[in-house]
């Protein structure tokens, strides 16, 4: 069924069809419409979930952890400061291997306070053990929820998932979205079967403390599960394609890369603008292509290397700032490491922080910088303010 949906509602409708037993979230712009929509669904009896109205994001994710540990499928959503308030619990959820799915409407973090989009929030949590998937449009926001639960709950994975999408740009924009029926979703995503759970009939202890003799192996196992998830995401993405006609077996998306001399790497909605810029530049005879990272954690290094092979000039479009690092953004390092070729120039460009508009002209300027080998800088800084 096709509907015209706001990005937030594309997330909420998908979350609903995944039949979470427990939902707990706390409002924060620009995620608010998700929690509101879910609350409405519960109030109208459209969604038969326990909806826990908590007093903070910290409790929201803690409650999700408890519910998941007790054997329920759970859902949450947040942004920015909310995600940072959850940080301690995020590490814990992954460490305790709870397959929680959470939508992130990406937003800048303070100070200064900004409600507008960049990806600093989720990128800041890149090492906490959650799979991170970035959507480009409302359809992907919607579809990725089904894939996320199936990947998270796979017993080879058992890791939580962030579904990230740019705040306002995607969360508050209406787009046509093709929605499966409940029966179709049920056939794709069977009822939740926990790997283990809190149950008086079969008591186990969870979240115990580990001495130096044991701790490292736990962390190793989480990393191994993350690595294994690469294939599971591909497999589930493919299965989704077979059932619903939209294939997500690729962890990266290549756009006009085959003969490209310059490649831009980006995550999320800005890819649309970049594609338009590429079309214009191609018309002028410039061989430019895009590599969109759909999955950032686990980092699909092999896919990136393959997609960029033969390209000597790569620029990474960063909606995050790794303060104090030589390359300015966190993604650039990973791309550089994946390419692993000193004859290839990989530079990072910080842009669009705190909702700063990104235009086709900016992208063209960036390509000029990549060609000139100037990078690891901020794009679009207003010099008069510095």
């Amino acid at each position: 069924m096709k509907g015209i949906l706001e990005g937030s509602h594309a997330a909420a409708e998908a979350a609903k069809l995944c039949r979470p037993d427990v939902v707990s979230a706390y409002p924060i712009t620009p995620q608010t419409h998700i929690v509101e929509r879910l609350a409405e669904m519960v109030a109208d009896g459209e969604l038969d979930s326990e909806y826990i109205c908590v007093e903070s994001e910290f409790s929201a994710l803690s409650a999700c952890l408890g519910a998941s540990a007790a054997g329920s499928r759970v859902y949450s959503a947040t942004s920015s400061q909310g995600l940072l308030l959850m940080t301690e619990v995020c590490f814990n959820v992954a460490g305790m291997r709870q397959p929680i799915v959470m939508s992130i409407a990406n937003r800048a973090v303070g100070a200064p306070l900004s409600i507008w989009n960049d990806q600093q929030d989720s990128i800041a949590l890149r090492d906490c053990g959650w799979i991170q998937i970035y959507a480009e449009d409302a359809q992907e926001i919607h579809d990725f929820h089904y894939i996320a639960y199936k990947v998270a709950e796979d017993h080879d994975v058992l890791l939580p998932v962030f579904i990230c999408f740019d705040g306002f740009i995607l969360s508050h924009t209406y787009e046509p979205v093709d929605m499966p029926t409940q029966a179709e979703v049920d056939a794709f995503l069977p009822p939740y079967k926990p790997y283990n759970m809190l149950d008086a009939k079969n008591p186990i202890s969870m979240g115990m403390y580990a001495t130096p003799e044991y701790y490292m192996e736990f962390r190793y196992e989480i990393d191994q599960a993350m690595v294994r998830s690469l294939d599971v995401i591909r497999r589930v993405g493919k299965e989704f394609g077979q059932k619903f006609g939209r294939d997500y077996s690729n962890l990266v998306e290549a756009y006009k890369l085959e003969d490209a001399e310059v490649a831009i790497v980006a995550l999320g909605s800005v890819s649309g603008t970049i594609k338009d810029a590429i079309d214009e530049m191609r018309a002028d005879g410039k061989k430019v292509g895009l590599l969109r990272l759909i999955v950032f954690r686990p980092f699909p290094a092999e896919d990136v290397k393959k997609a960029l092979s033969g390209i000597k000039k790569v620029g990474v479009f960063e909606k995050n700032l790794s303060i104090g690092a030589r390359m300015k953004g966190a993604v650039g390092y990973e791309v550089k490491d994946a390419v692993n070729d000193s004859s290839v120039s990989v530079l990072s460009y910080v842009a669009g922080l705190g909702g700063r508009d990104i235009t086709i002209a900016d992208i063209k300027k960036m390509v000029g910088e990549i060609e000139a080998g100037r990078g690891d800088c901020f794009l679009g800084l207003r010099e008069e303010l510095i």
Binding site: S59, A63, A69, V74
Partner: protein
Amino acid sequence: MADKTCELVDCGHRACGGCGPAFAARLILKGSGPESIVCASTGCMEVFSTPYPQTAWKVPWIHSLFENAAAVASGIESALKKQGRKENVLCICGDGATFDIGIQCISGAFERGHNITYICYDNEAYMNTGIQRSGATPYDASTTTSPAGKRSTGNNRPKKDLPQILAAHGSPYVATCSIAYPNDVIKKVDRAVQTEGPCYIQIHTPCCTGWGFDGAKTVELAKMAIECGLWVNYEMVNGKVEKVKKIKRKPVDEYLKSQKRFAHLFKPQRNDVEIAKIQAIADVNAEKYGIDL
């Protein structure tokens, strides 16, 4: 009625000999029975009872963080509700986790009215991290962050009245008890788990290491705290104090003298002014709860 015979917290944990909280854990599980799920906070009890790959718990047990047990319990209770299950959901947390860092999560859980029993084992400081003060540390106790010194007589604030705070949240059942009276603990826990809604129990659990006394005297110390009026055992139903343990009150001196954390009140010389202030706290308790026989 819950099973009161089996040991659901097994022997072999790694608490100090004479640990009040360890004794409390056994009593709590006797009160709540095997159909219980326990949420713990980071602290002594978590560390001494669950060194991976061992565990002392024979009921399902979960520890997430220092401050979120009440929120984790909220999630568990909601999941059980959705699944149509009926286990008792308990939090068993230290006073630091309860009075200080976790109070927001607790307040949220109580306000939402989850059917959980939150139990604070009150050893009156952060013991696991090396005896730092908490909001439950009594007036004038010397701890590593409220040390007695030339300009200090120890912790300069009285104990926070958390039972009142939680009663004010509309909790149907709030009780205090002490390991000095094991059957009372079991009875109160049983009553709390049978009561629908968020209930709170605070158990006085002397800590030989943190307070500085011989581990053979834990129960004796717990009894002395009650006998001098510095600890009061009572039950509050829907915000009203109903049952109070009455006593023939003794002065606070003996209780204070028996522990290192108050030693500075007696050495190098007796500090009458401060001891009188502590006596006044006991007097106010006696008046407020009517504990004098």
